[in-house]
């Protein structure tokens, strides 16, 4: 086998490690998959009753927001896995083996995308069960899923970079908490127009909002009429934001990985 095939084979071995984790600890997998469902049910049934969406049902509005939010929550899994491997010395062991060094990152990326697909599937089924529908046909629905995975792919690099940079457990904890306000400061569960002015602007420009709004369009789900530029160009931004995030964090991650030998 040549270098390239080994790079794929090694990446696949690292990905398979994650799959083995699922079978070794199915409870952890189920808990991870059910967490977004729990958040969904909280908003759909406990808080959603008080929210009126013009021209539609709150749950129809909520689902794309939940999908996008789940992409952001996935960030936490990536950086926790990476920083655990670094602090436990597993990364050093990988680096002392004659394996392709790219596999450490590509294997993690593939594993996390696999987890995300699974998580999305569970959430889609839950959404269908509570009355959410994709109204614009299969092609548009697939495009929406594509946009969601595109955001998740970009956040992978953020997670990898954070995992390589942040070592101490307190900082990891702080980051896990910080993911929440970032996820809520968006149009995922309510309209940014209801927020205080400047907060609303941030929420409007949050990459999560762009992806949520774009998938609402593609799924044919209702949203608040919002005349801001960011809201009007959600589809474009949903493509551009992840590109920008990747362009920033992918090189940073590569550099942080190289710097492990400094």
């Amino acid at each position: 086998m040549n270098r390239l095939t080994w790079a794929f084979a090694d990446g696949w071995t690292v990905t398979r490690r994650e799959v083995t984790h699922w079978t070794a600890n199915p409870g952890g997998l189920v808990a991870g998959l059910l967490f977004p469902v729990m958040v969904l049910l909280l908003f759909a049934y406990l808080l959603g009753g008080g929210i009126e969406v013009p021209g539609g049902d709150y749950r129809e509005f909520l689902m794309p927001g939940m999908f996008a939010m789940t992409m952001v929550f996935g960030l936490e899994g990536t950086f926790t896995a990476i920083s655990t491997d670094v602090t436990k010395g597993v990364t050093d062991r990988f680096r002392s083996l004659p394996m392709a060094s790219s596999a450490v990152v590509s294997g993690r990326a593939a594993a996390d995308l696999l987890t995300t697909v699974l998580s999305l599937a569970v959430l889609i089924v839950s959404g269908l069960a509570i009355g959410w529908r994709a109204h614009n046909g299969f092609g548009d629905a697939l495009a929406a899923v594509g946009l969601l995975l595109w955001l998740r792919f970009a956040l992978l690099w953020t997670g990898i970079w954070l995992g390589l940079k942040i070592r101490n457990p307190e900082a990891v904890m702080a980051l896990q908490i910080l993911v929440w306000p970032i996820a809520f400061l968006s149009n995922a569960i309510t309209s940014p127009a209801t927020m205080p002015g400047w907060l609303g602007v941030i929420a409007d420009w949050n990459p999560l909002s762009s992806t949520a709004a774009a998938t609402r369009e593609l799924f044919g789900n209702p949203g608040w009429a919002n005349d801001t530029w960011a809201a009007a160009h959600a589809l474009e931004l949903a493509l551009v934001w992840p590109l920008v995030i990747t362009a920033i964090f992918a090189p940073l991650s590569v550099r942080a990985y190289r710097n492990l030998s400094r």
């Binding site: 597993v90 062991r93 394996m99 596999a103 492990l260 030998s261």
Partner: protein
């Protein structure tokens, strides 16, 4: 002089003038090392002496700022990939996937060492049996004892039967039983002809396992030799008498001559014993002739602890 040989000897591990700086602190400050093939070499030194940094440079995990190093004939900075094909590393932490079983860990590292799936599975089975972990089944590593983890960690470093093994403080944090298990495993390695570089803070460990020892302090080697040679640097053997009755201490000291040292607390008198057995025989006869009752008479060699304290103190 061709690199890799010195005075006609071939070295499996060779380092010349390694320097590694972090800010204005030098973790390695002109570090030299030579380890002949098939031997166990101990790096002995206090915390922060540079032992781990040296191992990380030699295993290609860290790039040195200056200096040269070769392992198994390959330059660590230019031929890193080749070096990695010839070494096994067991670091300070048990670098294992806690959620997986021992077998799954070994199979994964075997696959990443580019063994075919069947070969990786076979090798995992062999190593589990060899390290007494054959009956752990699907138990996750997080439920292993400290000694079991360490043995599995060693096994993971041995997947490719590497000719050179690096063990960085392999018994730190283990109880005496775990330590004995690891020692036995290291001895088995040496019997197979593996070259081993071992770092340790435990002098007893270096004394037990290493053919030669480098004492490391402040990023450089301050002494090198066999354990016996190092002990001789602190002073020769001494004869030691423990008298039964403290009242006999002056008489016993008189027997040993002008260099005798007396320690009343332990009822002990000692003096240099340059002729070892001859000195011992003479002392025993003199004690009998003088009617002095002794609880113990022995030739005592300085311990590595004394060597260590002596060397690291004089270097500081």
């Amino acid at each position: 002089m061709p690199y890799g040989t010195l005075y006609g000897m071939t070295y499996t591990i060779e380092a010349r003038g390694l320097v590694k700086r972090y800010g204005d602190r030098a973790a390695l400050d002109g570090f030299d090392l030579t380890v002949p093939e098939g031997t166990v070499h101990g790096l002995l030194g206090p915390n922060g002496a540079g032992k781990t940094t040296a191992v990380r440079v030699l295993t290609t995990l860290l790039r040195p700022d200056e200096g040269l190093a070769r392992v198994a004939g390959f330059d660590v900075t230019r031929d890193g990939a080749e070096v990695r094909r010839h070494i096994g590393l067991v670091g300070q932490h048990a670098a294992l996937d806690e959620a997986l079983s021992g077998r799954a860990n070994l199979e994964m590292f075997g696959r990443l060492s580019h063994l075919r799936p069947k070969a990786a599975a076979r090798r995992a089975g062999e190593l589990l049996d060899r390290f007494g972990l054959g009956d752990t089944g699907r138990k996750a590593v997080k439920h292993y004892s400290g000694g079991m983890r360490r043995r599995l960690d060693l096994a993971a470093g041995l997947i490719l039967s590497p000719p050179v093994m690096f063990l960085d403080e392999p018994t730190t944090g283990l109880d005496p039983r775990g330590r004995a298990e690891v020692w036995a495993a290291v001895r088995a390695l040496v019997a197979d002809g593996t070259t081993v570089l071992l770092t340790t803070q435990y002098l007893e460990e270096a004394d037990q396992l290493a053919h030669r020892i480098s004492v490391v302090n402040e990023g450089r080697q301050v002494a090198e030799g066999t354990p016996e040679e190092l002990k001789k640097t602190v002073g020769g053997d001494r004869v030691e008498i423990v008298v039964h009755d403290p009242a006999d201490l002056p008489a016993a000291a008189a027997l040993l001559g002008p260099d005798a040292e007396t320690d009343p607390d332990t009822r002990r008198v000692s003096a240099p014993a340059p002729d070892r057995m001859a000195t011992l025989t003479a002392v025993v006869n003199d004690l009998a002739a003088g009617g002095i009752a002794a609880d113990d008479v022995a030739i005592r060699r300085p311990t590595l602890d004394e060597v260590f304290l002596h060397l690291t103190r004089s270097a500081a």
